[in-house]
Each structure stands twice: as structure tokens, then as C-alpha cells.
């Protein structure tokens, strides 16, 4: 007896699987949203279902800008996990004052600079085991 199972590196994004599913639905529509606490009004990144400041678990979704600037980055050339291609540009992007961890797609790795403008470019990854589409909040170098 021997058999195989998926080792799935992506989040479970559907309403059957996570309280934050609206984030992913909006992302699939090209919008970057996050949570604003209904208790104290604090906006968080990444989205959260509990506010440490006021201990509320009620929130609403608000839009963030679809553009940001590179705060820090590195280019991984080797040693990536199986299934992820090199070179890969990992970056922290500032969006509306929040730091967003992401990858930069379509960039010349040698040309990326701190301070550079980048735009949201949602990345479709493998569907989940139930066939639900999945998206990650990737960015690309903004057109000049």
C-alpha cells in the first residue's frame, strides 16, 4: 500500500475554510482590502478578526490603494522550495502606511530599487482541493 496526498503550500481561502474569505474574493476582483475594527476604527494589515487594542471581533472591509512603494527587497536565486521558481523577488511594499509582504512579478531582479513604485497584481495559484480558485496579493513594477 502506498498512496499520495497533496502538500498544499497555499492558504485555504473559501468561506468554508476561513473567516477572512472576503479578502480573497475581493482580491480575485482586483481589489486590495483589509479589516477596520468596528470597535475602535483601527485599520490592520494583514486583515484580522480580532483587535488587540479594543478586544472586538467585529470588523468591516475597507479598500487600500492598489499602488505602493518598495520598502525593502531581496532576490532569492537558489534554495527555493520545490515548486517555486528562481529568481524570486521578495519585497516589503508600503501601501497606505501599511507594510505588505509580497513578491514582485514581471520585474528585472537587477533593476528593483527601494522606493520604486509597484502596483497590485493578484496572482492566481492552484485551486484548492474543492476546486475553489485562489489568489495571492502579489505586486508588479508599476508602469511609468
Amino acid at each position: 500500500m502506498s498512496y499520495f496526498r497533496a502538500i498544499d503550500p497555499f492558504p485555504l481561502e473559501s468561506a468554508e475554510q476561513t473567516k477572512l474569505h472576503e479578502f480573497y474574493r475581493h482580491l480575485g476582483e482586483g481589489r486590495l482590502v483589509t479589516t477596520r475594527c468596528a470597535g475602535c476604527g483601527a485599520t490592520a494589515w494583514p486583515p484580522r478578526g480580532f483587535c488587540p487594542a479594543c478586544v472586538s471581533d467585529r470588523f468591516e472591509w475597507v479598500d487600500l490603494a492598489r499602488e505602493g512603494t518598495v520598502h525593502a527587497f531581496t532576490v532569492q536565486e537558489t534554495g527555493l522550495p520545490a515548486g517555486f521558481e528562481a529568481p524570486r523577488v521578495f519585497a516589503i511594499v508600503k501601501v497606505d502606511g501599511h507594510r505588505v509582504f509580497t513578491i514582485l512579478t514581471g520585474a528585472d531582479p537587477g533593476a528593483v530599487r527601494v522606493g520604486q513604485r509597484v502596483a497590485l497584481a493578484p496572482l492566481r495559484v492552484a485551486d484548492d482541493p474543492t476546486g475553489h480558485p485562489r489568489w495571492l496579493p502579489a505586486f508588479r513594477v508599476a508602469s511609468p
Binding site: R5, P9, Q17, T18, K19, F50, P52, V55, D57
Partner: protein
């Protein structure tokens, strides 16, 4: 050694949950903070998380740090995840307890969390095999039910314990769970239902077994001085004991109905607290299977060896009896989200000893016990008291 008390507690809804590990952490964490208005996440000096298999079910390790971030806790004294299979939560409580008792921290949260029903149902069962020895046991397809079935077979043969007496544990705990809105099962079960439920591993039937459950629970532990400042009803840790006979089935007592490690763990806890089994008002025992609750009665000293069957049949472990066992519904009724179980037991003792357990309140509960096993030869016992 400093005094240590519970000052807050909260649990998530248990069941097959449409939720991530983080969602469950938020739910239990909020419930715990809601129970302790004097404590905000920024006040907590340490966080210990009991969890068994996020590596398998969510491809995620490092779950203590994930939980700290989720709850907005910035540990300044202590951060750890503990794992001891089904005893992981209580082993986490003991970490926080020792830190506070030694004077190394004053206010620590212990959270237990497990999302077992993921990524798929049959993988969930396969994952449970990680709790026994891969090379010499799990390779044969062994998980927990056949282990405890060996104990049940032996208890029936040696003491005449009947299938009906085993079933009465299921009936009691399913019935208790009807008064616990956070339980996995809330519809109760009749003796017929238990006896007619499908056979899992002879002689254990479905309703004599705990289900595969998702859930989380959290408690706040404080030093004596801090506890008194935060609440006028702290719940004190009075004693604790842990003992192991062995890991593999073939290292345990030859008579699988004898669990000497539980007797030693309980003895250590009773001695430390200066109490005996007759002083216990309620006990949250580890009924992963009905036979475990019966043997726990005996090894904890609630009845003599071999008399657990008649003990449950006479109602002596229910309301109005000698000791109320598993008022929240136990693992059979509430479910068994591994890392969360021990913490949820402590949370139950917390509300019971404060008189806040509502419809399932044990009258005038002053001393509560919790017990976990993580195999028939591995046991941990805690004693909590209304008085220090």
C-alpha cells in the same frame, strides 16, 4: 514557591469548524479576555500554546508565535508551544505554572488549539497515527481506538464490566454536553443509541469514543498577588502530577486495565494539595474512550479497582453522586481537539469553581481535578481549588 491561580478562561465553539487555526485562536482568545476585563493583550507577559499537528493539517509550525501575533500579545518573559499528544494543553499549563511559581513571570496565557478536520477527513484519521510509535505500531495502521479497546477487553474479562456500563459513560457525557453550547455534540444520546452505534474496535462503539474535533481554549494564569488584584475569585492551582510508564503498548503494565502511571500522577497531585479523592467535587477526566473514564475512576481513587462499572451505573459520577465527572460533556460529548482539550478542562473547572457554570453548575464546587492521558501509560493530573 509562589502561589499561582487562574484568573480568566474562554473556549471557542467545538466541532467541525469552517475556520483556520488563527480563527480558532481569535475566538478562544477573545472569550478569555472577555472573562477578565482587567487584562488586555498588552498586559500578558507570556504565551504558551498547546498544539499537536498544525505541521500536518495546516503545513504550519511555530504556532505559538502565530498565536501571539494573532492576539496582539508581545511576550516579554515566556513564549513556547508544547506538545504531548492528547495532554499537550495541560503540559502547557504546567510550563506557565512553573514559570510563575518560580517567580519568573506574573501573568501568562495558555492557549490550546487544533484544527484536525483538514485537509480531508481520512487524512485526519491517518494523522492520528502520529501519536503512537511509527516504526513499531503506526506502521500497522494503529491509532488510539484499538489501544484502549485492549484495556476494555481486559476490564470486562477481569471485572465483569459490561458493554452497558461502558455505554453509560457515553450516555452521561453526551447528556452533559446538551447543557454546553460550545460542545461538538449537543443532542444527547440514549442507552439504545450508544449500544446500537457502529462498532469501532471491539468492544468500543462510536458513541463510546471521542470524535475528531476542531477547537481552541485559553486560560490566564497569574501569580498570587496579581491574581488577587485582578479578581476576588481566583481559582488556585493546588497540586499537579505527571508520570509515564512507557510509550509503546508492549512497555506498559501487562494487564492493560491497570494504569499505574495514573495512580502515581494522581498521588503526587493529591499529596501536593494535601487532599484526597473524596475531597474532589468535579473531575474533568480524559474520556477519549469510555473505558478510559472507567479506569480513571479507579486509579484516581473515586472507587476501588474493578468497581468502576457499578460506580457509573449507580450514578455516583453524575450530579447527586460522589463526584461529577465531565460536567461539560467530556471528550466524548464536547469533542477532542487535542491541544485544546486540557485547556478546555481547566476553563471548565474555572467557571465551575466560580459558580458561573449556569445550567451545568456543580453545586458548591470547591475542588476540581483535571486528568489527561496521551496513551494508557502517560498521565497528568491537576488540582484546582476555590481556596488557596
Amino acid at each position: 514557591m509562589n502561589e499561582v491561580a487562574l484568573v480568566g478562561a474562554g473556549v471557542s465553539k467545538f466541532g467541525v469548524r469552517k475556520a483556520t487555526y488563527r480563527d480558532l485562536i481569535w475566538e478562544a482568545g477573545k472569550a478569555c479576555f472577555d472573562s477578565t476585563p482587567g487584562v488586555r493583550p498588552g498586559d500578558v507577559e507570556g504565551l504558551v500554546v498547546g498544539s499537536v499537528m498544525p505541521e500536518r493539517t495546516a503545513f504550519q509550525s511555530h504556532i505559538a508565535s502565530l498565536a501571539a501575533e494573532a492576539l496582539g500579545i508581545r511576550p516579554s518573559a515566556l513564549s513556547a508551544r508544547t506538545e504531548h499528544m492528547c495532554a499537550s494543553g495541560t503540559v502547557g499549563i504546567r510550563y506557565a505554572y512553573a514559570f510563575i511559581a518560580a517567580g519568573l513571570a506574573d501573568l501568562v496565557m495558555v492557549l490550546g488549539v487544533e484544527k484536525l478536520n483538514q485537509p480531508s477527513g481520512d487524512e485526519a484519521i491517518l494523522n492520528m497515527g502520529t501519536g503512537v510509535d511509527r516504526e513499531w505500531e503506526a506502521a500497522f495502521g494503529l491509532t488510539a481506538p484499538p489501544c484502549f479497546a485492549l484495556a476494555a477487553q481486559r476490564h470486562m474479562a477481569a471485572y465483569g464490566t459490561s458493554e452497558e456500563q461502558l455505554a453509560l459513560v457515553g450516555v452521561k457525557n453526551h447528556t452533559h454536553a446538551t447543557k454546553n453550547p460550545n460542545a461538538h455534540f449537543t443532542r444527547g444520546a440514549t442507552l439504545d443509541q450508544v449500544l446500537c452505534s457502529r462498532m469501532i474496535s471491539t468492544p468500543l462503539r462510536l458513541y463510546m469514543c471521542s470524535p475528531i474535533t476542531d477547537g481552541a481554549a485559553a486560560v490566564l494564569l497569574a501569580s498570587g498577588e496579581r491574581a488577587r488584584a485582578l479578581t476576588d475569585r481566583p481559582v488556585w492551582i493546588r497540586g499537579t502530577g505527571q508520570a509515564l510508564d512507557g510509550f509503546q503498548l508492549t512497555s506498559l503494565h501487562e494487564d492493560y486495565a491497570h494504569w499505574p502511571a495514573l495512580r502515581r500522577a494522581a498521588g503526587a497531585a493529591y499529596r501536593m494539595a494535601g487532599v484526597g479523592p473524596a475531597d474532589v467535587d468535579l473531575a474533568e477526566v480524559h474520556d477519549c474512550f469510555a473505558i478510559a473514564e472507567l479506569i480513571a475512576y479507579e486509579e484516581l481513587g473515586f472507587c476501588k479497582k474493578g468497581e468502576a462499572g457499578p460506580f457509573v451505573a449507580a450514578g455516583r459520577s453524575d450530579y447527586g453522586g460522589d463526584v461529577v465527572v465531565n460536567p461539560r460533556g467530556g471528550l466524548i460529548g464536547c469533542g477532542h481537539p487535542l491541544g485544546a482539550t486540557g485547556v478546555a478542562q481547566a476553563a471548565e473547572v474555572f467557571v465551575q469553581l466560580r459558580g458561573e457554570a449556569g445550567a451545568r453548575q456543580v453545586p458548591d464546587a470547591a475542588l476540581g481535578l483535571t486528568h489527561n492521558n496521551s496513551g494508557m501509560g502517560e498521565h497528568v493530573v491537576m488540582l484546582y481549588g476555590r481556596e488557596a
